[in-house]
Structures are given as structure tokens and as C-alpha cells.
């Protein structure tokens, strides 16, 4: 589903970063481990189409992401890639429910209220649908963040340090949640983290 080969990136002042080639399909998650400064954020940005590599190729179901124009990439990202951020982002003025609607709106995907409700229910935050996200607890915010990442049924789920701020139990819960949803959607899941706790749960691991 996703194939990234020999990616290289260079910041204006800094060494050229090279990344290992990866190839993943749906239902088999990939764990990208790396310490701070190892370039895992850059790798994630490259995979999300936020930065363009100076070398190498990213193929997403035969679409070369590195060749798309900026605006085409914006649309592609909105429709096909769900990003779970380390600290979740929201449109603060909107309720959880409205944030979901805004996700549909910006990605130009036909809204599906039933799916939203089901997703919130599975993540156990349905009763918070009418609240503003910033009023919720950190754990709840994290789950809303996951809901927002998954609402468009993305083919690729990128998770950036989803568990680093959580205790063992919660980290475990979030991880299984992500795997479960990825399975349900048939999406590819890439988790980028320095959290070594996750190592035992995911077979396919690369180190940066």
C-alpha cells in the first residue's frame, strides 16, 4: 500500500538525512523507533507529504506523493491520511461533534454522521460530543484526536508519539485502539515513537 524508497532530506543548515526504505500493507503495522534528533519527525513529515524528499520516492497505491503539487497533496492528505498527533489539535471554537463535521468539510468527504457517532462511542467519548475538546481531560482529548484522525476512514494512519505522555495502561489501550481501528478500516498504520514499551506489541519495527 505504501512504499517509500531511499528517502533523503536536507535542512538548509544541516546534514543530509537518509531514511531506510519501507513497504507496508494494510493490517500490518510498522513501528518506527528512534531517539530525539534521529530524524523521525522528518520521516513522518515526508510520509505525510508535509515535506518533500530531495531524493527517493513515495508511492501510495501507485500514486507518487513526491510528484504531486502542493494543493493536490493537501487534498490527498485530507482524504487519505489520518494523523494522530502527539498533542492533539482541534478547532478550539468548535465542539467535538463540530470538529468532526469540519474534518468532513475540509477533506471534501461526504459526511457520515452515523460513522461519527459509532467512532465516538467505540472510543467511549460519545457523551462528550457536545463539549469543546479543550474542556476535556488529557486522556479524552487524546481519544478525540484519534477519532478526528480516523473519521475520514484514511488508508494510511500516521501516529506521532501517541503514547509518550500516557501511563502503561493508557498507552496499551491507545495502542490496541489504533490497531483495532486500522484493522477495521483496512488501513496501513505507522507509529513513530521513542517509546520502547511498544516494541513488544508490534512485530515490524525499524530503527532510525
Amino acid at each position: 500500500m505504501l512504499k517509500a524508497t531511499q528517502l533523503e532530506y536536507k535542512y538548509k543548515s544541516g546534514p543530509t538525512l537518509t531514511f531506510p526504505s519501507i513497504e507496508i500493507g494494510s493490517g500490518d503495522p510498522l513501528l518506527v523507533l528512534g531517539d530525539s534528533g534521529s530524524g523521525k519527525t522528518t520521516f513522518l513529515q515526508l510520509l505525510a507529504g508535509i515535506r518533500k524528499p530531495i531524493q527517493g520516492q513515495i508511492l501510495f497505491e501507485d500514486i507518487p506523493l513526491d510528484k504531486l503539487s502542493d494543493s493536490a497533496l493537501d487534498k490527498f492528505r485530507g482524504r487519505n491520511i489520518g494523523i494522530v498527533f502527539q498533542q492533539p489539535y482541534f478547532i478550539d471554537a468548535l465542539t467535538v461533534e463540530e470538529n468532526i463535521m469540519a474534518s468532513y468539510y475540509f477533506s471534501s468527504i461526504k459526511k457520515n454522521e452515523k460513522r461519527g457517532t459509532q467512532l465516538l462511542d467505540r472510543l467511549n467519548i460519545l457523551k462528550k460530543a457536545k463539549s469543546r475538546p479543550r474542556q476535556l481531560s488529557v486522556g479524552e482529548q487524546q481519544r478525540v484526536g484519534i477519532a478526528l484522525a480516523l473519521i475520514n476512514s484514511p488508508k494510511l494512519i500516521l501516529a506521532d508519539e501517541p503514547t509518550s505522555a500516557l501511563d502503561d495502561n493508557n498507552a496499551q489501550a491507545v495502542l490496541s485502539l489504533l490497531r483495532e481501528e486500522a484493522d477495521r478500516l483496512g488501513s496501513a498504520l505507522i507509529i513513530v515513537t521513542h517509546d520502547k514499551r511498544l516494541k513488544d506489541n508490534i512485530e515490524q519495527t525499524i530503527n532510525l
Binding site: 530525539s36 508535509i50 493537501d74 494523523i83 498533542q87 478550539d92 471554537a93 469540519a102 474534518s103 475540509f106
Partner: protein, 456 residues
């Protein structure tokens, strides 16, 4: 969910940050709208009341004051002129004058001016009135629609006039009787109580008998000159003026059987003794020929009366007012400019806090244009609400001004319809909102998405 509703909710989410912009915007737009309305309405009022009057003749003094007192009934009269002096103009044979309407001023009832005049004043303002509703005899009064409504007057009511224009310094003993009420005319006549010139003489002329001085302040409640402190004179002359029990021979004559003509006609006035007085004459010309245009100058140079042209004086007044309006307009524009600046700064400030939020929207698939429009809409919404509030303020202000003008001058302003100028103002205000949001919007559209993934 669309851009507009997200913008709207953003504003509602942190209303405190837009309150200042909103208030400033409302003040600026409100002030301009208010000035537009007042300017329009005042000009309309003045023009409605021009009534084709070509020349006003009265006692020497300020020409503007003569116009204001005789045509608009808002200033004190310049003084009186004798009937002798006015006689040539009252003569229907006058080669130049078409209509000559004599006015006697100086008395009022509860702040509304009583005007001693002839029936010609109705022609002047194009008013139709059945004969039985007209003031024919002395002490008969036909009330303007505005006075009648405000003071709740109806036909048959009896009242006593008071001396001067302000309030009951003292009142005359004789009863005035309402014989008719005019339909609303949207002219100054609405605010007047019309009676015969001789009614004034009957109420005032005994002073003449006592003092033997004619045209002096002794009995002339109008005062001779530019007389803003005439109330003082009332005090002084109180005793002279007050004895109304005497009947004067002159005025009695109209009750004699041979005079069937109404005392509210020029024919009647022409029969009266020349030492009687009126305050002024409103003249219309038969034609605007050279002689007619020279009439005013002749009067000013060769008589001790003055003639004033309404067109010239009102233009002068407008240009005086313009200076004031212009100053206020400049102030209002400055406020609007500052409000635009405040929208700009508030948005620029907010943008810093919202960088991540905007980047997040971009990650979710929002285009640069969409993020740009989001900020533009916010500027537009603030401008729209501010203008709305401004127009409400202006109409509220107009209402209060109208109330106070009605109390002080017996003039009222209508709430008025939305004019073209106001429509322009409204759209300019919206335009300003867009311009103020432009730079923040451009910055927003340049938001770097990568910052969303830099947490580690």
C-alpha cells in the same frame, strides 16, 4: 459546517477580543450614519418650508434671523414694522408682488407659536381648508396638525396665550378659541397656531394708548432688535402690556356691520390705521424679472425695513452647518479608521495563538484559499455586526434628537428611510472589514503545516 460558520464560531468563542473593534466600528459608522440622516433631514425640512417665498420683509437686523423667525419659527423676530410701511406690499395692485402674507409674532401657547396672519398663508404652503375651519374673527384660531396632536387640541377648545415664545411669563386674559385643525402638511405650519393679525393688536395695543410710543419696546413684545433676551423685557414691560380689558377703537371697527370682510385678509389690513404693527411679510413675486430681484435691495437701501432672500440666507446657513458637519465627519472617519486598525491588530494578535489550529486545518485538507477566506470572513462579520450596531445607534440617536428638537423647537425628525448614502456607507464599512483582515488572512494562508508535527 462551512467556512462561514467556523468563522462565526471563532468570533463567538472569544468575544472579548472583538468587543473593542466592534464598539469602535459601531461608533464610527453610527456617527457617520447619524450625520447623513441629520444633514438630509434638516435640509429637507428647510427646503420643504421654502414654499416659493421670494422675499421676507421685516424690521432691520440680521437677515438670517428674519428668515429663521418668519419662515421657520425658530428664532426671535427682529422687531416689528408698521402697517403703514407694509401697506404697499399688501395692495393687490402691487406690480411685482403676487402673494403678500403678513405675520404677527410674539405670543405662544405652551411653547407653540401663535401667528397672526391672513388666509393667504394657506395658499403659500398649498394647504386646503374648508371655510368653516378657518380663523375669520379675532381670537379664532386654526391649529396646525402637529400642535393639535401634541397638545391634544380639538375644535371648540379655549385657551389663553402667553407672552413670548418660551413659557408662561404671563398669559393674556382673552380667550382664544380653536375653530379648525389643519391636516398634516409636513411644513412648519404643522407647528403653528394661526389667528388674525388684529388679535395681536387687541391683546397688545393698549400699551400704545398709555405710552403713546409706537413701535417701541414699550408694547412690542417682539423686541425691536436682535432680541434674544426678550424675556427680560417682558419683565420690564409687564405692567404696560398687561391691561387687556380696554378695547381699542381701531380693532373694534371690524366688528361694525359694514365690515363683512374677514379680519384675516389683506383687504382688512389695508383699512386699518397705519400705526398698527405686524412683524414681517412673506412675499412671492409675480415673475422673476429684474425689478423683482431689485426689490429687496431697494427696501434695504431706501426704507428702515430689511428684506431678506430665503434662498441666499438658507444657503448661508447650510454652508455654516457644513463646516460643523465636516468636522464631525472627519472625526467619524478617524474613528472608523482606528476601528479598522483595531480589527487588523486584534486579528494579527490572534493569529499567533491560532497558528497551530490553522496548520491543523491545512493538515485536514483545507486549502490555502480556505484558510485565507476563514480570516476574511471574520473581518467581514465584525464589520457587519459593527455597522449594524452603528446604524442602530444612529437611529436611536436620531430618535432622541427628534424628541429634544420637538421639545425645544417644536420640530421633529422622522426616523427616515435608508438612503443611498447609507447603503454606500454600509458597503464601505464591510469593505473596510475585508481590508483590515487582508494581511492577517494572507499570513494565515502561508501557515506552515509542518509545525503540527514538531512536538518532539
Amino acid at each position: 459546517m462551512n467556512l462561514f460558520s467556523i468563522s462565526w464560531k471563532n468570533i463567538l468563542h472569544k468575544p472579548t477580543s472583538v468587543v473593542l473593534s466592534l464598539v469602535l466600528f459601531a461608533l464610527g459608522v453610527g456617527l457617520i450614519a447619524f450625520l447623513l440622516q441629520v444633514d438630509k433631514q434638516v435640509q429637507q425640512k428647510f427646503e420643504n418650508n421654502l414654499a416659493g417665498i421670494d422675499l421676507v420683509v421685516g424690521a432691520k437686523g440680521s437677515p438670517l434671523q428674519l428668515i429663521l423667525s418668519s419662515m421657520y419659527h425658530i428664532d426671535a423676530p427682529t422687531g416689528n414694522i408698521s402697517l403703514e410701511q407694509a401697506r404697499p406690499f399688501l395692495n393687490p395692485q402691487h406690480p411685482l408682488v403676487d402673494l403678500a402674507v403678513p405675520l404677527s409674532l410674539g405670543d405662544s401657547y405652551k411653547g407653540y407659536r401663535i401667528v397672526g396672519t391672513t388666509h393667504d398663508i394657506l395658499d403659500l404652503y398649498g394647504i386646503q381648508l374648508p371655510a368653516e375651519m378657518m380663523w375669520q374673527e379675532n381670537f379664532e384660531v386654526t391649529a396646525g396638525a402637529g400642535v393639535a396632536r401634541k397638545l391634544n387640541l380639538s375644535v371648540g377648545d379655549v385657551f389663553q396665550s402667553s407672552h413670548g415664545f418660551t413659557d408662561d411669563i404671563h398669559s393674556h386674559d382673552q380667550d382664544l378659541k380653536i375653530v379648525g385643525i389643519l391636516e398634516p402638511t409636513n411644513t412648519v405650519v404643522d407647528q403653528l397656531l394661526l389667528t388674525t393679525p388684529a388679535t395681536f393688536w387687541k391683546m397688545h395695543n393698549h400699551a400704545e394708548d398709555e405710552t403713546g410710543r409706537n413701535g417701541d419696546t414699550g408694547h412690542n413684545h417682539n423686541g425691536n432688535n436682535h432680541n434674544h433676551n426678550h424675556e427680560h423685557e417682558h419683565e420690564h414691560n409687564h405692567n404696560h402690556n398687561h391691561d387687556h380689558k380696554h378695547e381699542n377703537g381701531n380693532v373694534d371697527s371690524m366688528k361694525s356691520p359694514e365690515s363683512i370682510i374677514s379680519s384675516a385678509s389683506n383687504t382688512f389690513l389695508l383699512q386699518q390705521g397705519g400705526n398698527q404693527e405686524i412683524t414681517s411679510l412673506l412675499l412671492t413675486f409675480k415673475g422673476r424679472n429684474f425689478q423683482a430681484l431689485n426689490l429687496g435691495r431697494n427696501i434695504n437701501e431706501n426704507t428702515d425695513m430689511q428684506a431678506a432672500s430665503p434662498a441666499i440666507e438658507i444657503n448661508r446657513l447650510f454652508s455654516l452647518m457644513d463646516t460643523g458637519t465636516q468636522a464631525l465627519n472627519t472625526l467619524a472617519l478617524a474613528i472608523v479608521f482606528v476601528s479598522g486598525l483595531s480589527i487588523f491588530l486584534a486579528m494579527l494578535n490572534k493569529l499567533r495563538d491560532r497558528k497551530l489550529e490553522l496548520a491543523y486545518m491545512r493538515v485536514k485538507g483545507a486549502s490555502r484559499t480556505q484558510v485565507f477566506m476563514l480570516i476574511i470572513f471574520e473581518g467581514l462579520i465584525i464589520a457587519f455586526l459593527g455597522s449594524l450596531l452603528g446604524f442602530l445607534l444612529s437611529y436611536g440617536g436620531l430618535y432622541f434628537l427628534s424628541e429634544s428638537m420637538e421639545t425645544n423647537y417644536n420640530y421633529s425628525l422622522s426616523a427616515g428611510s435608508f438612503s443611498k448614502a447609507e447603503l454606500y456607507l454600509f458597503f464601505s464599512a464591510l469593505g473596510l472589514g475585508v481590508i483590515a483582515a487582508l494581511i492577517p488572512a494572507i499570513q494565515a494562508s502561508k501557515t506552515d503545516i509542518s509545525i503540527t508535527l514538531e512536538g518532539n
